[in-house]
Subunit: 402 residues, 2 copies
């Protein structure tokens, strides 16, 4: 009997899936799940096929009669499908709850039907490295195929097919969510009326890759990673994943935000202890970020998702010309960056805008003045909210939505 981690959402047993209704829809206590049987594999960019696979998702609001009010929200590296209301797993508000929900000013779910799915490779119900490998009956671990942002989007497209939606009114996402938005617009040109890539980039820079590699090495250096087979050992690489999260977390905040929030303030003490205790608030904060992350995230998912981001390079996929990715697009774009985001700085957004301009796309671009760093896209920044609301409203009018 394999000792499954809490992240292991068992896929169906091999041999059983083909007898079932395709696209089996299941409601779990925390999410909706769509299961694609072995007969409907997902073709991956690495050349392998994934089957069976499942996508966990949430919806908010009601799909209108002509299915024209659907907004797909794409989550970031460590996000999940619980974009609004209360996250039933953590008990905390959904990660974009201030922006999206019933009566919310930016995306009101009384008007729009919002869909958010856990990404392929994730650990919140969608098939990932903690899922059972039908070939062995044990969790994939690092036998899980290395996936790409494009694979994630293709899996989402299968969900959207399942929901019977031809064209999404909008695809919205920040950070890695924004990369998915770009892939959606490039791969499914007729299926995206409006696209909002936020605080993102069309490729991972050397520095982006470098930070991710530090995180992966931290995880893999932890003996409890067990070459990726920790599920069966009843352990998790806590220390390694915690260090990875700490390093990454620094990149999500601006230097100014860290200074303002913590400065050199001491934590619960008046004097330095002349020790390696967490004397400084910023140390205590980072340690807390690291340790709580381990409780909610699967270490192998972290490896696979960071790898997908590092592999992301839309220009390289289109003859080294980013504009080629968007050739012939009719989608209207709103590209948003934040002044103090040093993870995906404004120049990365400008590169996207230039590519869209080169194909005469309908594009607006706004750089939001914020000193909060990359994570500003998750915060209630009024200029940011106004920008998104304005763009969505105008697009809705154009689309003829009531």
């Amino acid at each position: 009997m394999t000792n499954l981690s809490k992240f292991a959402v068992p896929t169906e047993e091999p041999g059983q899936t083909s007898d079932r209704t395709p696209h089996g829809e299941v409601e779990t206590p925390t999410s909706l799940l769509v299961r694609f049987p072995a007969s409907e594999p997902l073709q991956l960019e690495c050349g392998r096929q994934l089957a069976p696979f499942q996508i966990a998702y949430q919806t908010y609001g009601t799909l209108n009669a002509d299915k024209s009010n659907a907004i797909l929200v794409c989550h970031a590296l460590t996000g999940d499908q619980h974009v609004s209301n209360v996250n039933p797993v953590t008990g905390k508000p959904g990660w974009w709850e201030t922006m999206i929900g019933q009566g919310r000013p930016v995306i009101d779910t009384d008007r729009y039907f919002v869909i958010c799915s856990n990404i392929l490779g994730g650990c919140m119900g969608s098939t990932g490295p903690a899922s059972l490998n039908p070939a062995t009956g044990t969790p994939y671990g690092i036998d899980f195929p290395v996936i790409t942002i494009g694979d994630m989007v293709n899996a989402q497209a299968r969900l959207i097919d399942h929901l019977g939606i031809d064209q999404l009114f909008a695809v919205v996402g920040g950070s890695m969510g924004g990369m998915q938005v770009l892939e959606w617009a490039a791969r499914y040109k007729d299926r995206v009326f409006a696209a909002l890539p936020i605080a993102t980039a069309a490729r991972h820079s050397a520095q982006n890759i470098a930070f991710h590699e530090v995180g992966r090495q931290a995880v893999m250096a932890d003996p409890e990673w067990c070459q990726g087979r920790y599920y069966a050992q009843g352990v998790v690489p806590r220390n390694g994943l915690s260090v990875a999260r700490m390093a990454a977390h620094i990149t999500y905040l601006s230097e100014e935000a860290l200074q303002r929030k913590f400065g050199r303030n001491l934590q619960d003490r008046d004097e330095k202890t002349f020790s390696f205790n967490a004397d400084f608030q910023v140390e205590s904060y980072l340690r807390h970020q690291g340790s709580t992350f381990v409780d909610r995230f699967d270490a192998n998912s972290y490896l696979y998702i960071t790898r997908a981001m590092d592999y992301f390079d839309m220009a390289a996929e289109h003859g080294d010309v980013l504009a080629n990715a968007f050739w012939g697009t009719k989608t209207r774009f709103c590209v948003v960056s934040f002044t103090s985001d040093w993870l995906y700085p404004t120049r990365e957004s400008r590169a996207i805008v230039r590519a869209l301009n080169a194909v005469a796309a309908n594009v607006s671009f706004v750089e939001i003045d914020s000193d909060k760093g990359h994570d500003a896209f998750l915060l209630e920044e009024s200029e940011f909210f106004d920008t998104v609301r304005g763009f969505i409203s105008a697009a809705a009018q154009k689309r003829g939505l009531k």
Copy 2:
């Protein structure tokens, strides 16, 4: 019998030191060493005393008759005393060899007597956590006292006393070396004719502390750290220290430099491998940086030195007014920063300059245009070299040096 690591430079046996000549001078194959006996302890800022202790150092050039041509060079976090010529330990050029040496254009050792000592807490011969604790006869490990930049400078002052030098013509250093320069100027006002703090700050910011804390947690998470007692176990926390170095190394380079140097180039392959191999050059480079660092540096020294840097806050030591640190100074200062240094950005240098201006100090400030990031201070940048040469020449003239 304790299994000493290669970093353990045994201090003298307890009880033997007091019989010897004070300040015993020893020449090892790789360095000069001055040993301060148990009767001459170093008072530390944590309240403890360190005794005996030793300082390993190198000199270049000849001290003139009136001892007025001595330049103390202070090294950075992972530097050493081998500032010029060939480092006899690594076989590589000294770390500032392009700037300092016989016939070198910036600091010519035919004219100046250059001294560089391994910092207290280091692992290149000066007393540090790998040294023998006289109380136990085994390496200190984490029983070594937590030291400060001020302690490092006080230890250096003992070396300068030993060399019979009243006033240093100049104290020069970059990064943590610059912090030592500032402490020298503040603590020994009459002993520093000219001071060059380069690519540095008068305090560690929240982001600086955060990156160091990630590195320390990576080391301490490695089971082979053995609570700091790895010397006796015949192991070293390779993986943890390597991850720490990788994370730190990213902060030493600008995003532009990483992009130009590596971009998204693949390492020895034409295609992505869809694996966790080091597909990208930047990954391979970082892994190499990590693994070679472990061969030359002691993990506990890394913990102690990063802690000293985090504790560094000159304003806090002077009633929260940085200018107070320099009250009454007669030293002439040259403060240098680099445009793309995001570890110690120009605003930190400006804070130093403002404080010096507030006490009407003789100060020049130059921000060097460079896209190479923090490590630019180690590189042959002509504007930087011209600045230092010009300042040193003018100061030498003022000092009446031939």
